[in-house]
Symmetry: C2
Subunit: 241 residues, 2 copies
């Protein structure tokens, strides 16, 4: 007899996390523009750990205790004064982060992580590590919940479409999809021919353009340029071994 | 100079209503399987008013004060004992409801209504009155928020796809879409060739089939068989004149 299917579900916004029993799932946090893309890139490039926090003040508190930590924070597209860099993935190169611990300020992503903390395991996804992540999820034989960090606690297209890309790799492997997963996968199939063009019509993309970070956006849509999977251990995201 | 655009937004679940300033919008409540379809059909067929309530007990309290009211309530697909009928649209025929007031028990729909009560105006949408509703919305020159009642406080496909159908009729008329509206419209365009086939893959449809109400589902996907628009006045849904 075949094994009963595992659930493959998508939570479209942090505000919907309470609708799920997160303790029954391996959770993937998704915040494509730009937090989880930068985290994947930083861990790939040898960062020892990345610590996501919600507020600039928390970030500063970490440095008081750990003067060697790098601090990353932006407000309105500018690096906050006294910080080492902002949230651009280009800040997470080998030269800058190898062997270092980075404290990263990210509102949407941190909230999604915090609300998912009772999950069996929490890993980080982005287009950068799409296939590596999907292959690993297939080996888990467990329920998977893709949590979209979204925008201001609501649905956004880029995170949903990434969730749909993971589903495209997992479906057919004895998973049962919920309605948000079906929708996310269908939207991905519409968008995949030209991700940048599809996402150019979103409100979020417009907002990010105003911040002058089109290069970041383009970088975050690179598929499979990394293979490491960041995993939450305590308060730190580290490379899954 | 052209007028500034109005917002055309989609709220994918009652749990996301707090993310919107509902007082800035004309709100459309959407609960395709089956509450808002039954309401549209009942109002079309001459019901004087339909009063949506969340609990069977509230329903009974209405009758104590108004013995002439008809009561509609189901639990697990069966008419509750002592009630006049359930939630099937086939209960809302002329013969049964003309000139009557019906108290309807509906969990998802009532919650969506309640959370939207500060809206400029609240109307009811379903595939049955799709074009009449969309034409009326175009004349309002106001922000529109399509509120999907969803399933257990989460996203469902049928309500989202209906929202996308309304957007298909409104877009191009100086509206600005948010990401959920773009997604809903794209999903509608995928589904519109064969709505029943597209929706057959949803979990909700599977659940409804188990209740033996496939005929209700098919009926709720009839497009433009009614022209009246139910509108909330006080606690009652009545025909918009």
């Amino acid at each position: 007899m075949p094994n009963p299917p595992n659930n493959l579900h998508v939570c479209l916004s942090p505000a919907l996390i309470p609708q799920y029993s997160v303790e029954d799932y391996v959770v993937v946090i998704v915040d494509i523009f730009r937090a989880t893309s930068s985290i994947c890139y930083g861990i790939e490039n040898g960062a020892e750990a990345i610590i996501p926090v919600a507020e600039v003040e928390e970030c500063i508190a970490y440095r008081a205790k750990n003067p060697e930590y790098l601090l990353a924070a932006e407000r309105n597209g500018e690096v906050v004064e006294g910080f080492d860099f902002g949230n651009s993935p280009f800040s997470y190169t080998k030269e800058k982060v190898a062997g270092k611990t980075v404290v990263l300020t990210t509102t949407n992503g941190t909230q999604a992580l915090h609300l998912s903390r009772r999950a069996k395991r929490i890993v980080i996804g982005s287009f950068l590590n799409l296939t590596a992540l999907s292959l690993w999820l297939k080996t888990q034989n467990d329920n998977v919940l893709l949590v979209c960090a979204g925008w201001k606690n609501n649905f956004n297209l880029e995170d949903t479409i990434f969730a749909g890309a993971v589903i495209e790799q997992l479906k057919g492997n004895n998973f049962k999809l919920d309605d948000p997963a079906i929708a996310a996968n269908d939207l991905y199939l519409l968008a995949k021919g030209d991700l940048p063009a599809y996402l150019a019509k979103t409100s979020h993309s417009e907002r990010l353009k105003k911040l002058g970070i089109e290069k970041d956006i383009a970088f975050c849509l690179n598929v499979d340029i990394t293979t490491s999977i960041p995993v939450l251990e305590g308060e730190k995201l580290v490379r899954l071994s």
